[in-house]
């Protein structure tokens, strides 16, 4: 896709010999990706998907404070929705969103670096936030965290999470003891610390990303921009407080142990 896009950006109209009938639409889509604004719009759209996911994921996780039954039944509901297909639709959708978000931003960042070869001797900034200047680094750390997080709680590689000790029965069906996994997982200090660091970086990423996506999608106006900006900060704060409350309650205050 990247290669075709680059080629299409260079020539006026490129014809795909493989798909002559669809070529007009596909060529336009490749050109859209090859353009600066096109890539940014894809980053904004996938970012919006991930923002909504982060909110839903946090609300679901906070059920750990309601009790073992609440979070275990919620986990069971997600696993069995649409006869087990629902969770895979969500996983594939999110995977696609993450892949597009990451590849497009890396591509954009490389172009940005190349756009100024000789840097300034005296570097100054007037209005940009530190978060906005470190998006690629907060983003890549979050990517590393997501991989760790999936191995931890989805692939259940460590702490015997995949074993019988973490299985329960809900309505006669086998289900994961999500509550016990969360409590045991965060009882190990290094995991909790990495989670908290990742959430702080996610919060930094969101503080620029949320309001930014409205700008890129062409939705900000003189009136709505201050609102979007505050919404972004509020969301970033909500996510860091909501998500960090779980490992901190367990590790520091001994919740559920």
């Amino acid at each position: 896709m990247k290669k075709a896009g680059a080629a299409c950006g260079a020539v006026a109209y490129c014809q795909s010999e493989l798909f002559p009938l669809m070529s007009a639409v596909f060529d336009s889509l490749f050109r859209f990706y090859a353009s600066s604004i096109g890539k940014k719009i894809l980053v904004a759209l996938t970012g919006a998907m991930l923002v909504i996911f982060v909110l839903g994921h946090m609300i679901g996780n906070l059920l750990v404070f309601v009790g073992p039954d609440a979070i275990n039944e919620y986990g069971h509901l997600l696993q069995t929705a649409l006869h087990g297909g629902g969770v895979w639709i969500a996983r594939l959708g999110l995977l696609a969103a993450v892949v597009v978000h990451v590849i497009a931003t890396i591509h954009l960042t490389k172009q940005n670096r190349a756009a100024r070869v000789d840097g300034y001797g005296k570097v100054a900034s007037q209005v940009s936030s530190k978060s906005s200047r470190t998006m690629i680094w907060s983003g890549l750390t979050i990517l590393a965290f997501i991989i760790y997080h999936l191995l931890h709680f989805t692939a259940r590689l460590w702490h015997g999470f995949g074993g019988a000790a973490y299985e329960i029965q809900i309505d006669g069906h086998k289900a994961h003891n999500v509550y016990k996994m969360v409590i045991d997982g965060f009882s190990w200090a290094p995991a909790s610390i990495f989670y908290v660091i990742a959430m702080l970086l996610l919060s930094s990423h969101l503080s620029h990303g949320v309001s930014s996506l409205f700008q890129t999608l062409g939705l900000s106006t003189h009136r709505s921009e201050p609102l979007f900006k505050k919404l972004g900060y509020a969301f970033a704060l909500l996510v860091v407080i909501g998500n960090c409350s779980i490992p901190i309650s367990i590790l520091v205050f001994g919740y559920g142990r």
Binding site: G9, A24, V25, S28, L29, R31, F32, A34, S35, S36, I37, G38, K39, K40, I41, L108, Q111, N112, A114, A115, R116, V117, D118, G119, Y120, G121, K122, V123, A124, S125, Q126, V127, S128, S129, S132, R133, M135, H208, S211, S212, Q215, T216, L217, G218, L219, S220, T221, H222, E225
Partner: protein, 262 residues
């Protein structure tokens, strides 16, 4: 009037060769001199001492031509808000200050010499769509096309862009989005610009990408540095216009023509 003694760190570079900073003492500078007049004084002394004067761009010296450039202490056109370098005065600096003077740095703005850069990329972007096609002949009647006052005012705000390139210089990605969005947005908001709106938007953005400018990351340093205070809301509009024009191009295509065409 008081006199300032300053230490300049000036970028010296010949086209196609690597550049370096030169330390130049600027002593006894009147505080009511403009920044360019200070550079004139420094150059006169350099010439008298048999040195190579510092090359820099300038023209009207009243803040409307867009010719002067210079990144001063890391900020395009220096620390004064909504001011070009020629309108920046030395009273904004203190005696004993060290001032970094650099060109507008971007791969798309190659250095011609010292502080002069080639901003021809902006001309090529304009040629790719920053105009309206009009018939020749007698001037049309005034007010034959009615334009709302708010629309005319907004278009005038965008038209205030003098094309100096401070937006590119101040952007950490050397993005030209503020310039392109002002030039496209000015015409895209007016009725006269509607017939060529999509072609203009696609053409200008594609030329911008081709010139090797970076991508906007919504940090708005451009708006802070712009001597004409062009709003980043023009970038919002360009994003919107570009998305719609791309979708139309992809799924509808250009209008079918009777003669077929190529």
């Amino acid at each position: 009037m008081s006199l300032l003694n300053l230490q300049l760190k000036v970028w010296r570079q010949n086209q196609g060769q690597p550049g370096h900073f030169q330390d130049i003492k600027a002593s006894q500078i009147p505080d009511h001199a403009s920044f360019l007049e200070m550079m004139d004084i420094v150059n006169e002394r350099l010439i008298k001492d048999g040195g190579d004067p510092v090359a820099f761009d300038h023209d009207c010296r009243e803040g409307i031509c867009g010719m002067c450039s210079m990144t001063i202490n890391g900020i395009a056109h220096g620390p004064e808000k909504a001011t070009t370098t020629c309108q920046l005065h030395m009273r904004k600096f203190r005696d004993g200050d060290t001032i970094w003077v650099e060109p507008f740095r971007a791969r798309a703005f190659p250095v011609v010499k010292d502080l002069m850069v080639d901003r021809g990329a902006f001309d090529r972007i304009q040629q790719a769509g920053g105009f309206v096609t009009v018939r020749t002949g007698a001037a049309p009647d005034a007010n034959s096309i009615l334009i709302g006052k708010e629309v005319a005012d907004a278009a005038m705000d965008a038209a205030a862009c003098i094309g100096c390139g401070a937006c590119v210089a101040s952007c950490k990605n050397a993005s030209a989005m503020l310039f392109v969005s002002a030039k496209a947005g000015q015409l895209n908001s007016l009725p006269q610009g509607q017939p060529e709106k999509d072609r203009r938007t696609l053409g200008m953005v594609r030329q911008m990408d081709k010139e090797g400018f970076g991508n906007c990351t919504n940090q708005y340093e451009c708006e802070a540095a712009c001597p004409k205070e062009i709003s980043v809301r023009w970038i919002t509009k360009l994003n919107r216009d570009y998305a719609l024009a791309s979708a139309k191009e992809a799924f509808v295509g250009v209008q079918e023509r009777a003669e077929g065409g190529d």
